[in-house]
Protein backbone atom coordinates (compact mmCIF):
# COMPACT_ATOMS: atom_id res chain seq x y z
CA UNK A 1 0.00 0.00 0.00
CA UNK A 2 2.69 2.50 1.00
CA UNK A 3 4.70 1.32 -1.96
CA UNK A 4 1.81 2.08 -4.29
CA UNK A 5 1.36 5.46 -2.64
CA UNK A 6 5.01 6.42 -3.02
CA UNK A 7 5.03 5.13 -6.58
CA UNK A 8 2.05 7.27 -7.50
CA UNK A 9 3.69 10.26 -5.81
CA UNK A 10 6.82 9.73 -7.89
CA UNK A 11 4.69 9.40 -11.00
CA UNK A 12 2.89 12.61 -10.13
CA UNK A 13 6.24 14.40 -9.74
CA UNK A 14 7.40 13.11 -13.12
CA UNK A 15 4.12 14.15 -14.74
CA UNK A 16 4.47 17.62 -13.26
CA UNK A 17 7.94 17.93 -14.75
CA UNK A 18 6.83 16.72 -18.15
CA UNK A 19 3.59 18.68 -18.26
CA UNK A 20 3.67 21.22 -21.08
CA UNK A 21 2.11 23.86 -18.82
CA UNK A 22 4.76 23.57 -16.11
CA UNK A 23 7.74 25.70 -17.08
CA UNK A 24 8.90 26.63 -13.60
CA UNK A 25 12.45 27.90 -13.98
CA UNK A 26 14.55 30.67 -12.43
CA UNK A 27 15.91 33.70 -14.31
CA UNK A 28 19.46 32.46 -13.60
CA UNK A 29 18.63 29.09 -15.16
CA UNK A 30 17.20 30.79 -18.23
CA UNK A 31 20.33 32.92 -18.52
CA UNK A 32 22.49 29.78 -18.27
CA UNK A 33 20.43 28.09 -20.99
CA UNK A 34 20.69 31.07 -23.38
CA UNK A 35 24.43 31.41 -22.73
CA UNK A 36 24.95 27.70 -23.39
CA UNK A 37 22.95 28.00 -26.60
CA UNK A 38 25.00 31.02 -27.65
CA UNK A 39 28.25 29.25 -26.81
CA UNK A 40 29.66 32.43 -25.34
CA UNK A 41 29.35 34.12 -21.92
CA UNK A 42 26.72 36.85 -21.60
CA UNK A 43 27.78 40.49 -21.32
CA UNK A 44 25.51 42.72 -19.25
CA UNK A 45 26.89 45.97 -20.74
CA UNK A 46 26.12 44.75 -24.24
CA UNK A 47 22.62 43.83 -23.05
CA UNK A 48 22.01 47.34 -21.75
CA UNK A 49 23.17 48.83 -25.04
CA UNK A 50 20.89 46.47 -26.98
CA UNK A 51 17.91 47.28 -24.73
CA UNK A 52 18.20 51.05 -24.80
CA UNK A 53 19.00 51.71 -28.47
CA UNK A 54 16.85 51.49 -31.59
CA UNK A 55 17.61 48.92 -34.25
CA UNK A 56 16.42 50.65 -37.41
CA UNK A 57 12.76 50.69 -36.43
CA UNK A 58 10.47 53.02 -34.44
CA UNK A 59 10.88 51.46 -31.02
CA UNK A 60 13.64 50.28 -28.70
CA UNK A 61 12.93 47.85 -25.86
CA UNK A 62 13.08 50.91 -23.59
CA UNK A 63 10.24 52.61 -25.49
CA UNK A 64 7.79 50.44 -23.55
CA UNK A 65 9.89 49.08 -20.68
CA UNK A 66 11.78 52.33 -19.76
CA UNK A 67 15.57 52.66 -19.93
CA UNK A 68 16.02 51.26 -16.43
CA UNK A 69 13.21 48.69 -16.17
CA UNK A 70 13.02 48.50 -12.38
CA UNK A 71 9.76 50.48 -12.62
CA UNK A 72 6.46 50.16 -14.50
CA UNK A 73 6.63 50.80 -18.22
CA UNK A 74 3.86 51.78 -20.61
CA UNK A 75 2.90 50.15 -23.90
CA UNK A 76 3.97 52.60 -26.63
CA UNK A 77 0.71 52.34 -28.54
CA UNK A 78 -1.99 51.25 -26.09
CA UNK A 79 -0.66 52.94 -22.94
CA UNK A 80 -1.26 49.80 -20.88
CA UNK A 81 1.00 49.54 -17.81
CA UNK A 82 3.78 46.97 -18.03
CA UNK A 83 5.22 45.77 -14.74
CA UNK A 84 9.02 45.95 -14.19
CA UNK A 85 11.25 43.62 -16.25
CA UNK A 86 14.09 43.33 -13.73
CA UNK A 87 13.50 40.12 -11.74
CA UNK A 88 14.55 41.76 -8.45
CA UNK A 89 11.64 44.16 -8.83
CA UNK A 90 9.19 41.63 -10.27
CA UNK A 91 9.88 38.03 -9.17
CA UNK A 92 7.48 36.64 -11.81
CA UNK A 93 9.77 37.67 -14.66
CA UNK A 94 11.69 34.93 -16.48
CA UNK A 95 10.12 32.07 -14.54
CA UNK A 96 8.23 30.54 -17.47
CA UNK A 97 10.22 29.59 -20.59
CA UNK A 98 7.21 29.59 -22.92
CA UNK A 99 6.24 33.07 -21.79
CA UNK A 100 9.80 34.38 -22.10
CA UNK A 101 10.12 32.94 -25.60
CA UNK A 102 6.74 34.30 -26.68
CA UNK A 103 7.62 37.83 -25.68
CA UNK A 104 11.18 37.76 -27.08
CA UNK A 105 9.77 36.49 -30.39
CA UNK A 106 7.13 39.22 -30.63
CA UNK A 107 9.08 42.13 -29.26
CA UNK A 108 12.33 41.42 -31.10
CA UNK A 109 10.26 41.34 -34.27
CA UNK A 110 8.82 44.77 -33.41
CA UNK A 111 12.13 46.30 -32.32
CA UNK A 112 14.74 44.57 -34.51
CA UNK A 113 12.61 43.16 -37.33
CA UNK A 114 13.73 39.59 -36.65
CA UNK A 115 14.00 37.12 -33.83
CA UNK A 116 16.79 37.78 -31.33
CA UNK A 117 19.77 35.45 -31.12
CA UNK A 118 20.42 33.41 -27.99
CA UNK A 119 23.43 35.66 -27.33
CA UNK A 120 21.28 38.80 -27.47
CA UNK A 121 18.72 37.29 -25.10
CA UNK A 122 21.48 36.21 -22.72
CA UNK A 123 23.03 39.69 -22.74
CA UNK A 124 19.73 41.41 -21.97
CA UNK A 125 18.83 38.98 -19.22
CA UNK A 126 22.33 39.27 -17.72
CA UNK A 127 21.90 43.04 -17.59
CA UNK A 128 18.40 42.84 -16.09
CA UNK A 129 19.81 40.61 -13.36
CA UNK A 130 22.39 43.26 -12.42
CA UNK A 131 19.60 45.73 -11.56
CA UNK A 132 19.26 45.63 -7.78
CA UNK A 133 17.64 47.72 -5.12
Amino acid sequence: MTRIASLSLTLAAIMALLSPTAHAITPAEQLAAYSAQAGTPAQAARGEQFFTTKHGKDWSCASCHTAIPTVDGKHASTGKLISPMAPTFNPQRFTDTAKTEKWFRRNCNDVVGRECSAAEKADVLAWLLTLKR
Binding site: H75, S77, T78, K80, K102, R105, R106, N107, N109, D110
Partner: protein, 159 residues
Protein backbone atom coordinates in the same frame (compact mmCIF):
# COMPACT_ATOMS: atom_id res chain seq x y z
CA UNK B 1 -39.49 21.11 -1.52
CA UNK B 2 -41.73 24.10 -2.17
CA UNK B 3 -39.11 26.37 -0.66
CA UNK B 4 -36.43 25.08 -2.98
CA UNK B 5 -38.76 25.50 -5.95
CA UNK B 6 -39.31 29.11 -4.90
CA UNK B 7 -35.57 29.57 -4.69
CA UNK B 8 -35.13 28.12 -8.15
CA UNK B 9 -37.80 30.40 -9.57
CA UNK B 10 -36.11 33.42 -8.00
CA UNK B 11 -32.78 32.35 -9.44
CA UNK B 12 -34.31 31.84 -12.89
CA UNK B 13 -35.81 35.31 -12.67
CA UNK B 14 -32.45 36.80 -11.73
CA UNK B 15 -30.70 35.08 -14.61
CA UNK B 16 -33.41 36.12 -17.07
CA UNK B 17 -33.32 39.75 -15.94
CA UNK B 18 -29.53 39.96 -16.10
CA UNK B 19 -29.73 38.57 -19.63
CA UNK B 20 -32.18 41.33 -20.50
CA UNK B 21 -29.89 43.93 -18.97
CA UNK B 22 -26.92 42.70 -20.96
CA UNK B 23 -28.95 43.10 -24.14
CA UNK B 24 -29.25 46.85 -23.49
CA UNK B 25 -27.99 48.83 -26.48
CA UNK B 26 -24.95 50.33 -24.72
CA UNK B 27 -23.91 47.00 -23.33
CA UNK B 28 -24.79 44.60 -26.11
CA UNK B 29 -22.78 41.49 -25.51
CA UNK B 30 -20.38 43.25 -23.20
CA UNK B 31 -21.47 41.63 -19.95
CA UNK B 32 -20.27 38.21 -21.09
CA UNK B 33 -17.50 36.91 -18.83
CA UNK B 34 -14.34 36.90 -20.97
CA UNK B 35 -12.61 33.62 -21.68
CA UNK B 36 -9.65 33.41 -19.22
CA UNK B 37 -7.26 32.81 -22.12
CA UNK B 38 -8.58 35.91 -23.92
CA UNK B 39 -8.05 37.90 -20.76
CA UNK B 40 -4.57 36.49 -20.23
CA UNK B 41 -3.25 36.89 -23.77
CA UNK B 42 -5.06 39.89 -25.21
CA UNK B 43 -5.52 42.03 -22.12
CA UNK B 44 -1.76 41.83 -21.48
CA UNK B 45 -1.46 44.70 -23.98
CA UNK B 46 -4.88 46.30 -24.18
CA UNK B 47 -8.42 46.23 -22.84
CA UNK B 48 -10.20 42.92 -23.39
CA UNK B 49 -12.49 44.48 -25.98
CA UNK B 50 -15.95 42.92 -25.80
CA UNK B 51 -16.34 40.15 -28.40
CA UNK B 52 -19.77 41.54 -29.29
CA UNK B 53 -18.30 44.80 -30.60
CA UNK B 54 -16.98 43.22 -33.82
CA UNK B 55 -18.57 40.79 -36.25
CA UNK B 56 -17.23 37.25 -36.56
CA UNK B 57 -15.63 38.07 -39.92
CA UNK B 58 -13.46 40.76 -38.26
CA UNK B 59 -12.39 38.43 -35.47
CA UNK B 60 -11.48 35.75 -38.01
CA UNK B 61 -9.38 38.26 -39.91
CA UNK B 62 -7.70 39.64 -36.75
CA UNK B 63 -6.90 36.24 -35.30
CA UNK B 64 -5.46 35.08 -38.63
CA UNK B 65 -3.05 38.02 -38.79
CA UNK B 66 -1.62 38.30 -35.29
CA UNK B 67 1.96 38.76 -36.52
CA UNK B 68 0.80 42.10 -37.93
CA UNK B 69 -1.57 43.35 -35.26
CA UNK B 70 -2.02 47.13 -35.57
CA UNK B 71 1.71 47.74 -35.80
CA UNK B 72 2.93 45.05 -33.44
CA UNK B 73 3.66 41.35 -33.51
CA UNK B 74 1.05 39.71 -31.27
CA UNK B 75 1.66 36.17 -32.53
CA UNK B 76 0.47 33.28 -30.38
CA UNK B 77 0.82 29.52 -30.34
CA UNK B 78 -1.69 27.67 -32.51
CA UNK B 79 -3.67 26.13 -29.66
CA UNK B 80 -4.25 29.52 -28.03
CA UNK B 81 -5.24 31.09 -31.36
CA UNK B 82 -7.77 28.32 -31.93
CA UNK B 83 -9.24 28.60 -28.42
CA UNK B 84 -9.51 32.40 -28.47
CA UNK B 85 -10.83 32.55 -32.06
CA UNK B 86 -13.53 30.02 -31.30
CA UNK B 87 -14.69 31.99 -28.28
CA UNK B 88 -14.59 35.36 -30.05
CA UNK B 89 -16.58 34.08 -33.00
CA UNK B 90 -19.14 32.39 -30.76
CA UNK B 91 -19.68 35.69 -28.94
CA UNK B 92 -19.22 38.07 -31.88
CA UNK B 93 -21.69 40.84 -32.64
CA UNK B 94 -24.61 39.69 -34.70
CA UNK B 95 -27.24 42.38 -34.47
CA UNK B 96 -27.56 44.63 -37.48
CA UNK B 97 -25.24 47.49 -36.55
CA UNK B 98 -22.34 45.32 -35.43
CA UNK B 99 -22.65 42.77 -38.21
CA UNK B 100 -21.01 45.15 -40.69
CA UNK B 101 -17.24 44.71 -40.98
CA UNK B 102 -15.69 48.10 -40.04
CA UNK B 103 -12.65 49.51 -41.87
CA UNK B 104 -9.43 47.75 -40.73
CA UNK B 105 -11.56 45.68 -38.36
CA UNK B 106 -11.39 48.59 -35.93
CA UNK B 107 -14.18 48.93 -33.36
CA UNK B 108 -13.47 52.66 -33.38
CA UNK B 109 -14.26 52.91 -37.12
CA UNK B 110 -17.60 51.15 -36.84
CA UNK B 111 -20.60 53.24 -37.89
CA UNK B 112 -22.27 52.70 -34.51
CA UNK B 113 -19.11 53.74 -32.64
CA UNK B 114 -18.66 56.90 -34.71
CA UNK B 115 -22.29 57.87 -34.23
CA UNK B 116 -22.16 57.37 -30.47
CA UNK B 117 -18.95 59.42 -30.25
CA UNK B 118 -19.85 62.13 -32.78
CA UNK B 119 -18.99 65.80 -32.22
CA UNK B 120 -22.21 66.62 -30.38
CA UNK B 121 -21.61 63.75 -27.95
CA UNK B 122 -17.86 63.95 -27.36
CA UNK B 123 -16.47 67.51 -27.39
CA UNK B 124 -13.80 68.11 -30.02
CA UNK B 125 -10.29 67.90 -28.62
CA UNK B 126 -11.11 65.19 -26.07
CA UNK B 127 -9.40 62.53 -28.19
CA UNK B 128 -6.16 64.50 -28.30
CA UNK B 129 -5.89 64.81 -24.50
CA UNK B 130 -2.93 62.97 -22.99
CA UNK B 131 -5.32 61.36 -20.52
CA UNK B 132 -7.25 59.81 -23.42
CA UNK B 133 -4.59 59.24 -26.07
CA UNK B 134 -6.75 57.52 -28.62
CA UNK B 135 -10.28 56.33 -29.28
CA UNK B 136 -9.23 52.75 -28.55
CA UNK B 137 -8.52 53.67 -24.92
CA UNK B 138 -12.11 52.97 -23.77
CA UNK B 139 -11.21 52.99 -20.10
CA UNK B 140 -10.17 56.65 -20.19
CA UNK B 141 -13.86 57.64 -20.11
CA UNK B 142 -15.67 54.33 -19.54
CA UNK B 143 -14.19 53.47 -16.15
CA UNK B 144 -15.93 50.10 -16.06
CA UNK B 145 -14.88 49.10 -19.59
CA UNK B 146 -12.69 46.24 -18.39
CA UNK B 147 -15.76 44.81 -16.67
CA UNK B 148 -17.91 45.33 -19.77
CA UNK B 149 -19.68 48.40 -18.41
CA UNK B 150 -20.21 51.02 -21.10
CA UNK B 151 -23.29 52.60 -19.52
CA UNK B 152 -23.77 56.21 -20.52
CA UNK B 153 -24.41 57.30 -16.92
CA UNK B 154 -21.01 55.98 -15.81
CA UNK B 155 -19.03 58.01 -18.34
CA UNK B 156 -16.47 60.43 -16.92
CA UNK B 157 -14.48 62.39 -19.48
CA UNK B 158 -11.04 63.23 -18.01
CA UNK B 159 -9.44 66.67 -18.21
Amino acid sequence: MIKSLKKQAALAFLIASSTLLSAHADNAGTAITPLPKYQQECAACHLAYPAGMLPAASWTHLMGNLTKHYGTDASLDEASVREISGWLKANAGTYKRVSEVPPQDRITKSAWFLRKHRDGEVPAGVWARASVGSASNCVACHGGAAQGNFNERDIKIPK
